[in-house]
Every structure is written in structure tokens, then in C-alpha cells.
């Protein structure tokens, strides 16, 4: 009952937020920064919200145990989990950002999107099954399997919360800006709306609701993008050559859009970014958590197979959508900010910026109703991603920090779940405040930083604890902290932050992405400090490797891990 009343209160908040927009939107149109109130988009968005709140209510009514809350009771199938992973991973930034990059630069957008995909096979080959066999709710379960729980869970929580914080700030700011643009809703309302909904999904529906929000979103996004790519290809008689030829004729860069441009200039940066994307994927806490929602290792590996298929397919669609936007938008001044002379820059003057290419294309191929649909999908996309992040952060606080570190495992299950729900609310409130605070800051580097930290702290600690017998708690703790610190410090000193954000003359660290160096620091740190760890505890931990190894490879004993 209490859950229902809060859901109703949230719906009321929505109504208030939208209701008060009409007056504000009028002023915004003159300013040009915000679009007029987009009625079909809002109607469709309301349908999505109503459906997901219904699911949340259903999930809340049946979620009782900690296993339900953190891992949907382990009852998600491989196919469903594959879709949910895709829904967790395909952010609005990758949909709008990559199609916008293709619109602006052509081929370079493809280079960028490829990097976001190639981490998945690595997750499958090295991580997924072992994670499922050893862990229960969070990846810290795996690290703490044979290592000392207190230091390793503190480390894993710091790694998780750092990744979640940077990722969440980037998502909140992006969400506020995007919703302001798409729905004509003021920035602050948009951020409160996103934060409020994610709190409701996670705090009341736990992993079950989060999973279904992600599945529905993935279905809508893949469906919408497929329709757009189909319409684009259909307008060229399904001949890619004809589409590319038209794009080359229309785009101001002409033939240059068909080959690599300036995205990859120096090899060190390129390799470093590649490493961060590839191994960062294998260290994202909200993604790793998804592997505990399936019944066994077999379902875990199927999830990755489906997820890789969906995500790869999606990136191929964004490439077609980007080229479609070039061919169908660039010669139509109604999509551009046109000077009095009638002239406009075919890339830079796109209304709302190049990130809006896919949104404008939706209007071009499907009219205002489809535009509304795609806008609602973009909103849904943000919600699914932030819900996953919030759940991962809340689990780190309740399951790792509270239940294991503070209460030393002596805590009632319902109390742990309650704390997790409170953590989700706290994270949501903090995310709203940070989103508001960072409104006019440059947050573009934050997703990259989240991946760098995931690749330099979470991934090395996880990999070494599972694969190398010699790993000790001290080695994992020091190595992980060194990797995390190195990643953050190097990003702060990099050109993107030190020069572009803080305004200093020259960067103290020459590369925008630190992963090549910070990952090496983490691995060497774990190895070195494990090697010189001569304590009796270290020997006991190394001795416990055999039992962990047998279970991680065979899953024997893992089935019982679901029950408390």
C-alpha cells in the first residue's frame, strides 16, 4: 500500500512538472534553446511510464527476499537478460551521440561505435561464467570469495560508487539537456523527473522492475532504430552504394566522410581509449550485476551472446541512421538555424546540435508522431540506464559496505533490503543535486572516466582474484586503489579536464585516456603487493584458491548460493 501511494505521488509530481511547463515553454521558444511542448512525445512517454510503474507495482508485490531485490530471484532467462544487458548498456549518448558523430564525420562514427562493442566477447570468455559461479549479488562477492571480506569489499564499493557517480552525473546532465530540448521541460524538472522515476523503479521494484524497464526500453529502441534504418535504406532502393553516393554529394566534407578522419590521431591515445572501452565494459558494476539474475553459467553465457548481437546490430543501425540524416536532412533548411542570407552550415547549424540528428531524422522519415515516439524512447533509454546504475550503487552500500563490512554478515535479510532501498533513494537525491550542480559544466569526459576507472580498478581486481592464485587481500586492495587513483588523477591532469575545463595553459598528462597506464599500474600493483605479502593471512588466502578454482570452473556449489 505504501509503495502504491508513493507511486501515485510520483505520478502527481509528473503531472505538476508537465502542467507548469506550458507557461515556461512559451518563453523558451523565443530563446530558441528549448522546443515547444511536444504533445505526442509526452503522451507516449506517459504510456511508457504508466507501463513501467505498473511493472514496478507488480514487482514490489512479489519481491520479498534479498535474492529478489538484488538478482530478480535468479529467474531471468538468458534471452531476457541479453535484452536487459543491451538495455542497460545502450545509452541515449550512444544512440544520439554516435548517430550524431556519423552525421558530422561519417566513417569516424563507426570507429567509435566499434570500441563499445568489442568488450563483450572479453566479458564472455573471461568473466561471465566465473562471476555467476562464484558470486551472489555483486562482483565484490567474487573478490571476497577467498580474500578478506573487509578490505576487498571496501575496495569494490569504492570502485563501484566511483564508476556509478561519474556515469550517473554524465547521464543526469545529458538527460536534463535532452529532455529540455525534446519535451520543452525545464532542466531542473527534467532532472527531478528522471531521478524520481529511477528511485521508484529501484526502491520499490528492485532488480525485477529494473530488468523489465531495461527489456522494454531495449525493445522500443531497437524497434524504433530498425524502422528508421529501414526507411532510410528504402529511400535508396536498399542500395547502400546509392545512399553513400548521395551522402558524399551532399556532405560538405564529400569523399572524406568515407574514410578515417581526425578521430584517431596518435596511436597511444587510440590504444588507451580502446583498452578502456574493452576492459572497462568488463568492470562496470551495473553490468556485472546482471549476471546474477540468471539461473546458471549456461544462461550467463547465452546472455552475453544475445547482448552482443543486439548491441552490434544497434551500432550498425546507428551508422545507417547517421548516413540517412546526412542525405535526408542536410538539404532541408527547416532543420537548421538559417542566417538572414539563407546560408547555413550543414553540420554545425543543425537545430539543437549534431546530437539531434537522429531525432530530426525520425521526423523526416515518420512524421511528428514518430518523432514523438523516438523522443519518448530516448527518455526511456535514459531511465533504464540510470536505474541500473542506481541499483548497482545501492547494492554496494547495503550488501558490501553495510551487511559485510559494518555488520560483519550478522544482519537480517529484510533489514539489508530495507537499507538498500534507502540507499537507492539517497543515491537518487544526490544524483538530482549533482545533476543540477553540473548543469553548465563540461561532463563529456565523465563517461570515459567511468570506463577508465572500471578498467583500472574493478576489472584487474576481479580478474586477478579469479585467475591468479597468488593474489592476496593486501595486493588487491593496494593495486586496486593505485589503479583507481591513477585513472582519476591522469584524467584530471589531461587536456580534456586540465585545459578545457579548468582553463590551464598546458596539460600535465598528455593523453585524454589513461587506461593504458593506469591498468598497467593496477596489475603490477596487485602482483607486487601480493608477492611481498608474507602474512599468515596471505598464505591462507592462497591456500583457499583451490576450492574457489574448482567452483569457478564447474559451478559446483553455486546453485545453493542463491538461497541465503
Amino acid at each position: 500500500m505504501r509503495a502504491l501511494s508513493i507511486i501515485l505521488a510520483a505520478a502527481g509530481l509528473l503531472a505538476v512538472a508537465f502542467g507548469s511547463t506550458e507557461t515556461l515553454a512559451a518563453g523558451a521558444i523565443e530563446g530558441g534553446g528549448r522546443q515547444a511542448l511536444n504533445v505526442p512525445a509526452i503522451v507516449m512517454f506517459f504510456l511508457f511510464v504508466a507501463m513501467t510503474l505498473g511493472i514496478t507495482k507488480w514487482a514490489a508485490s512479489r519481491a520479498r527476499s534479498a535474492a529478489d531485490f538484488y538478482a530478480a530471484g535468479g529467474g531471468i532467462t538468458g534471452f531476457q537478460n541479453g535484452l536487459a544487458i543491451a538495455g542497460d548498456y545502450m545509452s541515449a549518448a550512444s544512440f544520439l551521440g554516435i548517430s550524431g558523430l556519423v552525421f558530422a564525420t561519417g566513417f569516424d562514427g563507426l570507429i567509435y561505435s566499434v570500441g563499445w562493442l568489442v568488450g563483450w566477447p572479453i566479458v564472455l570468455f573471461l568473466i561471465a561464467e566465473r562471476l555467476r559461479n562464484l558470486g551472489r549479488y555483486t562482483f565484490a562477492d567474487v573478490v571476497a570469495f577467498r580474500l578478506e571480506p573487509t578490505p576487498t569489499r571496501i575496495l569494490a564499493s569504492i570502485g563501484t560508487l566511483t564508476v556509478v557517480a561519474f556515469y550517473l552525473i554524465a547521464q543526469m546532465v545529458g538527460a536534463g539537456k535532452l529532455i529540455e530540448l525534446l519535451f520543452g521541460l525545464p532542466y531542473l524538472y527534467a532532472v527531478i523527473l528522471v531521478g524520481g522515476l529511477m528511485i521508484v523503479y529501484v526502491a520499490f521494484g528492485g532488480m525485477v522492475a529494473t530488468t523489465w524497464v531495461q527489456i522494454i526500453k531495449a525493445g522500443l529502441l531497437l524497434g524504433g532504430a530498425t524502422f528508421m534504418a529501414f526507411m532510410v535504406l528504402a529511400s535508396f532502393g536498399f542500395s547502400p552504394e546509392a545512399m553513400f553516393r548521395a551522402a558524399v554529394d551532399i556532405h560538405p566534407k564529400h569523399l572524406a566522410i568515407m574514410e578515417p578522419g581526425g578521430l584517431v590521431s596518435d596511436p597511444i591515445s587510440a590504444i588507451s581509449l580502446g583498452l578502456a572501452l574493452m576492459f572497462g565494459t568488463a568492470g562496470l558494476p551495473h553490468i556485472l550485476m546482471r549476471f546474477f539474475t540468471v539461473a546458471d553459467a549456461k544462461a550467463a553465457r547465452k546472455s552475453v551472446f544475445y547482448a552482443t548481437g543486439f548491441i552490434g546490430y544497434f551500432y550498425i543501425l546507428t551508422f545507417i541512421i547517421g548516413f540517412g540524416a546526412i542525405t535526408l536532412l542536410m538539404n532541408d533548411p527547416s532543420y537548421f538555424k538559417v542566417a538572414a542570407s539563407g546560408a547555413y552550415n550543414k553540420v554545425g547549424d543543425l537545430l539543437g546540435g549534431t546530437n539531434m540528428a537522429a531525432i530530426h531524422l525520425a521526423n523526416a522519415v515518420g512524421g511528428s508522431l514518430f518523432l514523438g515516439f523516438i523522443s519518448a524512447v530516448a527518455f526511456a533509454t535514459i531511465l533504464a540506464v540510470v536505474a541500473g546504475l542506481t541499483l548497482a550503487g545501492a547494492s554496494a552500500i547495503s550488501h558490501d559496505l553495510y551487511a559485510s563490512v559494518i555488520a560483519k554478515g550478522k544482519v537480517a535479510e529484510d533489514k539489508e533490503v530495507k537499507l538498500s532501498k534507502l540507499s537507492a533513494i539517497a543515491i537518487g537525491v544526490v544524483a538530482i543535486m549533482l545533476g543540477y550542480l553540473f548543469e553548465n559544466q563540461n561532463v563529456a569526459f565523465m563517461v570515459g572516466l567511468a570506463f577508465a576507472v572500471a578498467a583500472s580498478c574493478n576489472f584487474p581486481v576481479l580478474l586477478m582474484s579469479v585467475f591468479w592464485k597468488g593474489t592476496t587481500s593486501r595486493g588487491a586492495l593496494i593495486g586496486g586503489l593505485l589503479g583507481l587513483t591513477a585513472a582519476v588523477v591522469m584524467v584530471v591532469l589531461s587536456p580534456a579536464v586540465w585545459v578545457k575545463t579548468f582553463g590551464f595553459q598546458a596539460a600535465l598528462f598528455p593523453y585524454d585516456n589513461p587506461a593504458l597506464f593506469s591498468m598497467a599500474i593496477a596489475f603490477v600493483g596487485i602482483w607486487l603487493f601480493s608477492k611481498i605479502d608474507a602474512t599468515a593471512r596471505a598464505r591462507a588466502e592462497q591456500g583457499a584458491f583451490e576450492a574457489q578454482y574448482v567452483r569457478s570452473e564447474t559451478g559446483i556449489g553455486a546453485a545453493g548460493a542463491l538461497a541465503h
Partner: protein
């Protein structure tokens, strides 16, 4: 699972076979993915013009199918792994579990 069970499984030849086969297979596929992806990135860094060569007199360049190949290869590699794991590795695992029961 007690200590004696761990030792029994550890000494089991089928367990050795499983972990050796799977480790070899998983690291080989990982290496394949790394070579494909970083090969692509290094090609872009050092010889971007290679990817700009047009195909068959049209505007489509070599880069487009190469980029698509990288995407498709990620999917195909996961498919290969899952197929083998679902048959060979799972069979071996079940045999080990049966034997030590």
C-alpha cells in the same frame, strides 16, 4: 563442498581436461578479438588511406566492410564460444559432477 571433494575434483583427469581445453579456447578467442580490434585501430592510426580506397569504382570504401567485419566478428566469436561451451564444456562439467557425487 568440503576439502576432500575439492581435492577429488582437482585430481580428476576430466577436470584437468575441462579447464585446460576451456582456458586454451577462451584465451585464443580473446586474442583473436584483441588482434582484430587493435589491428583495426592501428590501421587507422598508421595507414588511414588504406581504408579510404574505393571498392569497384563506387564511393563505398574498404573501411565500411572492414568496420562491419569488426562488429560482426565480435558476435561470431561469442557465438563460437557459446556453441562449444554448451556442448563440449557442459558435457564434461556434467560428467565431473556425476563422478564426484
Amino acid at each position: 563442498m568440503g576439502e576432500t571433494d575439492v581435492l577429488r575434483i582437482r585430481r580428476e583427469p576430466m577436470f584437468r581436461e575441462l579447464v585446460d581445453k576451456r582456458a586454451h579456447f577462451a584465451w585464443t578467442l580473446s586474442a583473436a578479438m584483441l588482434v582484430i580490434y587493435f589491428g583495426f585501430i592501428l590501421l587507422i592510426a598508421f595507414a588511414p588511406k588504406v581504408l579510404g580506397v574505393p571498392i569497384g569504382g563506387g564511393v563505398m570504401t574498404v573501411g565500411i566492410p572492414v568496420g562491419l567485419f569488426v562488429i560482426v566478428s565480435a558476435f561470431v566469436l561469442t557465438g563460437i564460444y557459446v556453441h562449444r561451451a554448451n556442448s563440449v564444456f557442459d558435457d564434461l562439467t556434467h560428467k565431473i559432477i556425476e563422478k564426484v557425487k
